[in-house]
Symmetry: D2
Subunit: 277 residues, 4 copies
Amino acid sequence: MSIETVVAPLAGRQAKPAGSIVRVGGVEIGGTAVVVFAGPCAVENEEQILSAARAVKAAGARVLRGGAYKPRTSPYSFPGLKADGLRLLALARAETGLPVVTEVMDARHLEQVLACADILQVGSRNMQNVTLLEEVGKCRVPVLLKRGMSATLAEHLLAAEHVMKGGNGQVILCERGIRTFEPSTRNTLDLGAVPMLKRHTHLPVIVDPSHGTGLAWMVPSMACAAVAAGADGLLIEVHGHPARALSDGGQALTFEEFAGAMIRIGAVASAIGRSLA
Amino acid sequence: MSIETVVAPLAGRQAKPAGSIVRVGGVEIGGTAVVVFAGPCAVENEEQILSAARAVKAAGARVLRGGAYKPRTSPYSFPGLKADGLRLLALARAETGLPVVTEVMDARHLEQVLACADILQVGSRNMQNVTLLEEVGKCRVPVLLKRGMSATLAEHLLAAEHVMKGGNGQVILCERGIRTFEPSTRNTLDLGAVPMLKRHTHLPVIVDPSHGTGLAWMVPSMACAAVAAGADGLLIEVHGHPARALSDGGQALTFEEFAGAMIRIGAVASAIGRSLA
Amino acid sequence: MSIETVVAPLAGRQAKPAGSIVRVGGVEIGGTAVVVFAGPCAVENEEQILSAARAVKAAGARVLRGGAYKPRTSPYSFPGLKADGLRLLALARAETGLPVVTEVMDARHLEQVLACADILQVGSRNMQNVTLLEEVGKCRVPVLLKRGMSATLAEHLLAAEHVMKGGNGQVILCERGIRTFEPSTRNTLDLGAVPMLKRHTHLPVIVDPSHGTGLAWMVPSMACAAVAAGADGLLIEVHGHPARALSDGGQALTFEEFAGAMIRIGAVASAIGRSLA
Amino acid sequence: MSIETVVAPLAGRQAKPAGSIVRVGGVEIGGTAVVVFAGPCAVENEEQILSAARAVKAAGARVLRGGAYKPRTSPYSFPGLKADGLRLLALARAETGLPVVTEVMDARHLEQVLACADILQVGSRNMQNVTLLEEVGKCRVPVLLKRGMSATLAEHLLAAEHVMKGGNGQVILCERGIRTFEPSTRNTLDLGAVPMLKRHTHLPVIVDPSHGTGLAWMVPSMACAAVAAGADGLLIEVHGHPARALSDGGQALTFEEFAGAMIRIGAVASAIGRSLA
């Protein structure tokens, strides 16, 4: 199904031709400024998340990301610190003032997650977990909805419609790479999704170049490309010591690399008449 | 990740080199006989499910399928009759004696679904819904685990490992077509998945040619091909009046078509030294 | 583009509703009998091709395959014996009486290839080499047209139309696996292509399970599945010593494996009312 | 095969760590400046190609593109003006001074094409037409080698190696979108290919956002994104009257749209420390 033919009265562009802005902790997502969400893939310990929060804030990130509940392909991989991870995210928020985005995997965790999250992330594996979409649709906090690994743009938009039908209009869509035949990158980052979604929905659209490539050295270039394509924000993995990360270290930037990337990203944003938030 | 490299101590073939058999209501799945699961995509009303149950039983099906909770791409599509659908499935089971497989979308529905289901289906959209996999892993009924739309075989196997790690060893894997560039069929049925999975896991492997093609006229041929490839069973959509179906009518066989297909399927099963259960 | 919408007045089913039969050396492709084409990926030396020709004939193959001109991904891979390979194929044909299919990569080689080939193969890499299609369209020998690695069925059919527009109606289509995200097999064999093509074209359709899987142990199962799906023939790689093959040894059957596979294939053919030619 | 593992002694980055520059008519491709190749998909008539050549030159393009030999999916589509098209390209070159890139589909056309082309294009359908690669490898003009529709980056690099092994080191690689499951765009533009290729080869890498999206309105955004990702150039379709184009009109920019896009592209180039050539 092409996105042209989707029936989405709530998420479709025609519902709000001027575009919608999602507000969280003084940050506007979907406005002129490009908003960077950054932090580690998973919360690992207090020192790790606090140092990362400070570093990404200093470099210009406006939202802290960090996983507490981690859906993993293998049951033998690190599943996240769960409640302890949420507590550490709350600490990092308290210290830095950065709003927090973290994943909710299960409706039964919602109350717990809501106690510390400013934005609820629904991950790629759950993009069509319909009851979870319905539950976050009943919440009153923004939802960051990642595209499924092989979801069409039509399906991504309809997943947002599921959330909005529950009453929650604060949805942010996130392109994070799709499954293709190409083995050199973890996923194929589909930057054409940015203008295509922006044309067909009023919702903000951000890009995750970390999952989109799986390779830290590619992240700055692809982050710049995402901004040039019109993305309203970026979701970037940053870790104090990528080689020691418990999850996805190969795609995490060091603090220094992230600071350098932000300068390049800011220059591209300016070139297209935007700025970094 | 190639399936060769997967670490799956519970689901991997080495755990049970002779293969495992899942038993339900006198039926053995994974043995010499090929087991056919059939019925409508969605339960719609009493007459519909009872007539379908009688017809598929008469033609040789050994398990009744029917959806009560339906995860749908659009929030405006028919979501299933939910609790009422479960009740009607229980009626059909009582009348025909056929065990029932139906989908569970949410851990919070488990108690309700378990009251009527003999086999719990985890659908493609939820193949990596980790907490749902963990919950069905705590149950003591067989689980039919469909491959995700773009799940690799390695990921499919690891999803089974998630279930088995919870203590439930009765898992049936189901190939149902994958996402590719080809637009002429709804999905591309990957029959190579059958021998590949059978080599790397001891679990039974069945095939759903209805979702795998999306076209009723293709189902009999592809069902025969699946059996020839070594499938332990088939999941086939059958509806009394496909043109009036509330869900996926284009891929449902009529009762007559299903009866005809069963004869062809039985002949192929015999040719490779198996039989219809 | 779906195959439903293709304009193919020559290749389309409506041009010959009863189906067309391609005849070569007393063999009919597209009739009731299933025709097996077998032999090594590449002709390597006289002993190799003669022993293979004898073995596949003894096991029931009716056409000998063997590559003399080999298009290779890397310029450092074995490119085939070229003219010498053609000469050896002619020898094998003379000794066994089997008609020969071999690839033509370039219109400038046509005269040379025609001197020894009974069927011209156009390979996957050249499925949209339009001038080559036009040139083989001017020949009066059958053409085996393999599906491109990511060609849709619509494109495959239109490639046949290119050949037929030149005046050559003897085209055989060959499904040989497509590019997908799945890394466990070399390609994903799309057996749904068989009934779909048969519905939309009158041309015979065969299947290459060797390239379709890349794994010799999968070939017999998938060959049986192809026949069950309705294939008019099979293209199977066979080599006296697969481990020493100069090209694609991992997917070649030994003589014994091929003989065993033929028995299984024959049984499935009988089950669906066909036979081995 | 991942590009990491490719053996390409000529095309690999290690052969020329500083990168190579392809020079044509005073233009340097692969240097600091970003070079824009623009013009119609197909040459249609004198007025069309001359007006397009003037317009793209005025807006800053440095190379004129235009197809004379057009490989088409259907034999009933416009195949290009062939020799007449080449003659018109020569006229446009003479008038504007712009070097010309045009496709060569067949080695037998080389002499004719070389008489008017400054750069030989090998199209996506022919990326693995090995004998054509070998023939252009014997020429002494630059070769623009487009990625095949489902070619991996490893295969793209090895196709360049085929050309270079013949003695022609002037190869430009072009990303033009790949086949995926997403139906909303004609192809999925894989901008990650740009940094990945640049890391593994010294050859210049350009991007074709016209074929990469199939939609004119997306071209300016994706052109900017390509430059931000590090592309050395762009290949953009421009037509005086897209609605009347004989080929691919839906993806062609008007003269005005192209001029506007060039301003945006130039701004992004400046932001990353480059310029428009």
